[in-house]
Subunit: 210 residues, 2 copies
């Protein structure tokens, strides 16, 4: 934080310029390849100012997708019961976040991702690098299967959010968390640690019943 640009730190234009450059970098290059330095250059500011406003790269990324929850803080709770409970705990944690006041921002993000390719890319990148990868990395799974397992978890979680909070399909929209944890937890558990069928382990020549 030694150097400062000539801009005033409180300038809302500077903050917005950094956010815009970060959105573009994360959406176009992905979280891993984007750097604070290139984002700062694109925004015309010193990298130290980016850190000053937004903290770490992870925090800057969460700011670009307007997610006020840090997945890293939720992770210990999800993993506390070990591999065999990760499905139920992931659903319970997910519902606790979306049912809380923070859920409004999450619903807005989901709506935006569906109508806007830019936000869709950011959400996809966020899901993969900040949520799914972190959970799956702790579970000693076959690395070759991680992308499919993570994406399948994403399908069920996104659909649960869609139906409960956006489309509001009953009885899922009003169901208590226990009901949904019991119903959906085993799905997530199987996607994370279970058998996903022969096609995930070897190529097949097509299902003649199809």
């Amino acid at each position: 934080m030694a150097r400062r640009t000539g801009r005033r730190p409180g300038n809302p234009g500077t903050r917005e310029a950094i956010l815009a450059a970060a959105r573009e970098a994360f959406a176009e290059r992905g979280f891993d390849a984007a750097s604070i330095r290139t984002i700062a250059t694109a925004a015309g500011v010193d990298p130290a100012l980016v850190h000053h406003y937004f903290g770490t790269k992870e925090e800057l990324f969460r700011a670009t997708v307007s997610i006020p929850v840090d997945p890293a803080e939720l992770l210990p709770g999800v993993l506390a019961g070990g591999r065999d409970e990760v499905g139920a705990r992931l659903v319970r944690t997910f519902l606790a976040v979306w049912d809380s006041p923070v859920g409004t921002a999450a619903v807005a993000l989901l709506r935006s991702a569906v109508s806007n390719e830019w936000t869709a890319r950011l959400l996809r990148e966020f899901l993969v690098t900040q949520v799914l990868r972190r959970v799956l990395d702790h579970l000693d799974l076959d690395p070759a299967e991680l992308p499919l397992r993570g994406a399948l978890v994403g399908t069920q979680m996104a659909g649960l959010a869609m139906m409960r909070y956006v489309i509001r399909l009953e009885p899922v929209a009003s169901a208590d968390p226990d009901t949904l944890v019991a119903a959906v937890g085993p799905t997530i558990q199987r996607y994370v640690t279970g058998d996903l069928g022969p096609t995930t382990r070897r190529s097949v020549t097509g299902d003649p019943r199809g």
Copy 2:
């Protein structure tokens, strides 16, 4: 089709007026309570003209949500293997429709439902009355459990569509149908015929681990 109003049958304004009245009726009153007669009255036309343009009430409903596929025609294929194969067949049929040229309209409907409460109501009503109810009615299940089972199927199918066709999360976006049928079929099978946990059968006092 004996009587005709004074309007020209080819008048695009008439067709649009009927569609607008139908959308409002289906979204506000639901598919079961809405009638061709009240829709015709609201549109200022004779009921026969509604039938002339759109056919049955089911066909009119599909026109309001721009779905060019008749779920009733797909039903025999889904049910052909009996109860034990309904999960895999539902996923395979779903993917065949969405992967086809018709899928473009389905993606547009999904996008619209997320950003528009009106379309969300229509999609919800369509899912329940035209898709889920028809499948579940043929499977000899406990009627008390049907709404939850149907809605859970809806969560997984909506999330699969979101991630494969809208957010385009890999490897689900590019996976061949066999892989997804093997991975997601058992989820749907359990939601339709399997055990959904104690909370679906009796009230519970909360999970102390939550």
